[in-house]
């Protein structure tokens, strides 16, 4: 299960809307072992593509060094699909290399990026090529979640 603050969820969705028609991507970091996605970090999609995303390699190093300095890990790795549903593609599954992360997907297909309609945010664990969807619980603050 993924527990996520409303503010963080909204930030992910806003990022996906903003970057459409390219895939948006980023990380939400949290204290190691906490499973709490606390710090929203939108990343640049170096591929600048509607069908692919990749963190720039220099950005990636800086991100991991910063998380390491702060005793954080990538609790959520998110990206958007711009023309398909918010479900991991074969490419997503093949390239998932953070077994501890919640892989979050958002879809901006079918004009979803334009309106005020709620955009679906779904979360998955991807371990050894296996995808398991999980429930997403949105809370107003982590303090409330306990």
């Amino acid at each position: 299960m993924l527990t996520i603050e409303r503010e963080v969820r909204d930030a992910i969705v806003a990022h996906a809307r903003r970057d459409h028609p390219d895939e948006a991507c980023g990380v939400v970091a949290g204290p190691v072992g906490s499973d709490r996605p606390a710090r929203f970090i939108p990343m640049r999609n170096a591929a600048q593509s509607p069908t692919f995303y990749e963190f720039d390699s220099v950005d990636l190093l800086r991100l991991y060094q910063e998380m390491d300095d702060r005793d954080e890990e990538p609790v959520v790795i998110y990206h958007s699909h711009t023309a398909t549903e918010a479900y991991p593609s074969r490419t997503d599954i093949g390239l998932a290399q953070e077994p501890g992360a919640h892989y979050v997907l958002v879809s901006t297909a079918d004009g979803a990026h334009e309106g005020d309609d709620p955009i679906e945010l779904r979360s998955y664990r991807i371990v050894d090529g296996e995808v398991t969807e999980e429930d997403v619980t949105v809370v107003s603050s982590y303090a409330e979640a306990g």
Partner: protein, 90 residues
């Protein structure tokens, strides 16, 4: 001679859970071979027939080795090598 190699979570199964190992060599290729002798299986995750695998990033002293000669990148005592899987998808 000691070169520190920082290993990402997904490769720690080959290093007995260690976050960093030490190795030696004059080039990245030699260093990887040396690390492989003590941590079998790690090389295959880093290297294929064409060289460094596409979705693995390796940095020597914070420089992405794709810009410094890939596997021919020179390394020396005291250097720090960081391995990070790409964060990518479609």
């Amino acid at each position: 001679m000691a070169i520190e190699v920082r290993v990402p979570t997904i490769l720690r199964t080959y290093t007995g859970g260690q976050k960093a190992v030490t190795g030696q060599g004059g080039t990245l290729a030699q260093l990887i071979d040396d690390v492989e002798t003590n941590n079998p299986g790690v090389k295959e995750r880093l290297v294929d027939e064409s060289g460094l695998r596409r979705f693995v990033n390796v940095y020597v002293n914070d420089e992405d080795v794709r810009f410094t000669g890939g596997l021919d990148t020179e390394v020396s005592d005291g250097d720090t090598v960081v391995i990070l899987p790409a964060v990518a998808g479609g």
